[in-house]
C-alpha cells in the first residue's frame, strides 16, 4: 500500500464510491455529536488524511476491549478504519507469535518512531516491580515505558487502561494503575468503558486522521464528543425520571412500562458515555433499554462506588455509627446535665437573702 495514498484514494481504489464515503462521514459526524451538516467538511478533511501506524499493547486485561472492537464485522465502518490504519502489533490478532511477534513490535517502533499511535488496553501492574503481568519475560510497566516515548499519542482503551478498572478495585492486590499514572509527557486519550464502545475508537481515530490532533477531552481525558453528557441526559427513559415515574422492582408494572431505573440503582446520572446514543450489539439496544440500570463502567472506581442495585441517592450504610454516636451524645448530655445541676445547686447554696442595701451599688 502506498504510504502517501490518502484515505479517499484508498477507498476509491478499493471500489468504494464517494457517496459511500459521504455516508460514512455522516454517520461519524452523528457519532461524534457534530451537527449533520458538518459531515461534508469532515469528508473533505478525512479524504485527504494518511494512514498511521498503530501499535496495540495488551496489559492486565480480559480481552473484552479487543472483543468489543473486533465484534464489528467487516466491512463495517470499524472494519474500514482498520483498513485505514496499519495495525503493526496486536498480540491477539496478529498471525506472528513468540520472537517473530516481538521483532514486529520493535521494527514498528523503530520505523515509525515519533509517529505511531499507541493503543493500550488493561491496567499496569506496579506491585512487585510489575511482576504480576509480564510478556516475554518483561513487565507491562517496562513495555509501556519503552513504547511510550516514540508514540505520537496514546489511546488508553477501556476503563482498566484509563483509570485502573477492575484490577484496581479494592484491595488492588497487583498495585494496578492507569496508563496516565505512569506516562505524563504524552497526549493520552482515555476511552473508558468496560468494554468501551467500538465506534468511539473509530471516532477518535477518525478525528485524529481528519484533523491531525486528538479530540477535545474532558477533565478525565475522555473525548467530549462521546463523554460530554451522561447516560441519564441522553436516556430515552429520562422523561419518566422527570415525571417521577420509577420502576421499584425489576418485574413490577413500572419496569414493564419502561419507567426510570434510578431507584433500582441505575448509575446513569453520574456516568458519562455515549451508550444511550450509539447503543450496543449492532445498535440493537443498551443496558437500560434492556431493562437493567447503568452500572457506571466508564467512570473511575465504578466497582467500588456502592452497590450496582443501590439508588444513587441511597448511601451505603449511613446508620453505621448511629449507635455509638447516640451513646456518646447521651453521655455528653448527661455529663453536662450533672455539671449543670451541680452548678445550679452551688448557685442556690451561695444565695444570700437580699436586703435593701443590696439594691444599691
Amino acid at each position: 500500500m502506498d504510504e502517501e495514498e490518502t484515505l479517499l484514494e484508498h477507498m476509491q481504489r478499493e471500489g468504494m464510491s464517494r457517496r459511500t464515503f459521504l455516508k460514512y462521514c455522516a454517520s461519524l459526524a452523528s457519532l461524534m455529536a457534530l451537527p449533520p451538516t458538518a459531515a461534508a467538511a469532515m469528508a473533505e478533511a478525512l479524504g485527504k488524511a494518511k494512514r498511521p501506524s498503530v501499535i496495540w499493547l495488551p496489559f492486565q486485561e480480559c480481552t473484552g476491549c479487543t472483543e468489543s472492537v473486533t465484534r464489528s464485522h467487516t466491512p463495517s465502518i470499524e472494519g474500514m478504519i482498520f483498513n485505514m490504519i496499519s495495525l503493526d502489533y496486536h498480540e491477539t490478532l496478529m498471525a506472528a507469535a513468540g520472537h517473530q511477534a516481538e521483532a514486529a513490535l520493535h521494527n514498528a517502533m523503530k520505523d515509525n518512531y515519533g509517529k505511531y499511535v499507541l493503543i493500550v488496553d488493561g491496567s499496569v501492574a506496579t506491585g512487585l516491580d510489575g511482576a504480576y503481568s509480564c510478556i516475554a519475560g518483561r513487565s507491562n510497566l517496562d513495555l509501556l515505558k519503552e513504547a511510550a516515548p516514540g508514540a505520537a499519542a496514546i489511546v488508553a482503551l477501556g476503563t482498566c487502561a484509563s483509570f485502573g478498572g477492575i484490577p484496581k478495585a479494592k484491595p488492588n492486590p497487583t498495585g494496578a494503575v492507569a496508563v496516565s499514572d505512569i506516562i505524563k509527557d504524552k497526549p493520552i486519550v482515555n476511552i473508558s468503558g468496560c468494554p468501551p464502545i467500538p465506534v468511539v475508537i473509530t471516532g477518535v481515530l477518525a478525528h485524529y486522521l481528519t484533523f491531525g490532533t486528538l479530540p477535545e477531552l474532558d477533565a478525565l481525558g475522555r473525548p467530549k464528543a462521546f463523554y460530554g453528557e451522561t447516560i441519564h441526559d441522553r436516556c430515552y427513559r429520562r422523561p419518566f425520571y422527570d415525571q417521577g415515574k420509577f420502576a421499584k422492582t425489576f418485574d413490577d408494572e413500572g419496569a414493564r412500562k419502561g419507567w426510570c431505573l434510578f431507584e433500582l440503582g441505575c448509575k446513569g446520572p453520574v456516568t458519562y458515555n455515549a451508550c444511550a446514543t450509539t447503543k450496543w450489539n449492532d445498535s440493537t439496544s443498551f443496558p437500560i433499554e434492556s431493562g437493567h440500570g447503568c452500572i457506571g463502567c466508564s467512570e473511575p472506581d465504578f466497582w467500588d462506588a456502592g452497590g450496582f442495585y443501590k439508588a444513587l441517592s441511597t448511601p451505603a450504610n449511613p446508620l453505621k455509627y448511629v449507635g455509638a454516636a447516640a451513646a456518646i451524645g447521651v453521655a455528653a448530655g448527661a455529663a453536662v446535665s450533672v455539671a449543670n445541676r451541680a452548678s445550679k445547686n452551688a448557685a442556690k447554696a451561695a444565695h444570700e437573702k437580699t436586703e435593701l442595701p443590696d439594691l444599691e451599688k
Binding site: 448511601p315 450504610n317 448530655g333 448527661a334
Partner: protein
C-alpha cells in the same frame, strides 16, 4: 481524589460520620437543654392548662392579629421558604428513596418539574430574606456571624441540589457530591446553631402556651 471518589466518600463515609455527629449533637444538646428543669408552678391554674401548650404549638404558626401587616417579608417569606424547603426535602423522589433506605418508610413524591419550580421559588425567597436581614434595621442589628452562617448552611444544599439536578455549572457527579457534602455540613452544624430551632421550637411554644394557658390566656 477524582469526582467519583468524592461522591463515593460523600455518600459513604462522609454521610456515616455526618449522621453520627448529628445524632450525637442532637442528643447532647437536647439533654443539655431540657434537663435544666423548671420549678413546679404552685399558683392554682385559672383553667386546667391541659392542651394549651399543644394548642400554642399549632397556633403560633399563624401571625397574631396585626403582625402580618407589620412584617410581611418575615411572614410571607418565612412561610414560602419553610414550606418550600419541606416540599423539596421530603417530596423529591430521590430524597424519599433515601428515607426509605434509612428507615424503611416511603411515601408518594411530586413530579420533578414541580420540585424544580418550588426550588427556584425557595431559592429566590431565601435571597429575599437574606436581603431583608441585611436591610431591615432590627434584623441587621440582631444578626451576627451565626445568623449568616445558618442562612448559608441552609441555602447551599438547596442551591447545589438544584444545580445538580439541572446539570448546571459543574458535572453532575461533582455537584451531587457537593450537594451531599453541604447537607452533611448542615447536619453536623444543626445542633450547635440556631438551626436547632427546628426541634426546640416545639418545646418553646409548648412552654409558652402552658404558662399562658394556666392563666387562662390562649397564647
Amino acid at each position: 481524589m477524582n469526582e467519583m471518589q468524592l461522591l463515593t466518600w460523600a455518600r459513604g463515609t462522609g454521610l456515616n460520620i455526618a449522621i453520627g455527629l448529628f445524632i450525637l449533637g442532637m442528643l447532647w444538646r437536647l439533654i443539655e437543654i431540657y434537663t435544666l428543669g423548671r420549678k413546679q408552678d404552685l399558683a392554682p391554674a385559672r383553667s386546667v392548662a391541659g392542651a394549651s401548650g399543644w394548642h400554642t404549638i399549632v397556633r403560633r404558626s399563624l401571625p397574631p392579629h396585626g403582625m402580618l401587616k407589620r412584617s410581611p417579608v418575615s411572614y410571607i417569606g418565612g412561610y414560602i421558604f419553610h414550606i418550600g424547603l419541606f416540599i423539596v426535602v421530603f417530596l423529591f423522589a430521590p430524597h424519599i428513596k433515601l428515607a426509605e433506605s434509612l428507615v424503611g418508610l416511603s411515601w408518594p413524591g411530586l413530579p420533578s418539574q414541580v420540585i424544580d419550580a418550588v426550588a427556584v421559588v425557595t431559592l429566590a425567597t431565601m435571597l429575599l430574606v437574606l436581603f431583608d436581614r441585611i436591610n431591615n434595621p432590627v434584623k441587621r442589628y440582631l444578626s451576627s456571624f451565626g445568623d449568616y452562617a445558618a442562612w448559608a448552611l441552609t441555602f447551599l444544599p438547596l442551591l447545589t441540589g438544584f444545580l445538580a439536578v439541572k446539570h448546571l455549572l459543574l458535572p453532575y457527579t461533582t455537584m451531587l457530591a457537593l450537594h451531599i457534602l453541604s447537607v452533611e455540613l448542615l447536619l453536623v452544624a444543626l445542633p450547635f446553631t440556631k438551626l436547632i430551632h427546628v426541634f426546640t421550637l416545639f418545646a418553646s411554644r409548648w412552654y409558652n402556651g402552658d404558662i399562658s394557658g394556666k392563666r387562662g390566656v390562649p397564647a
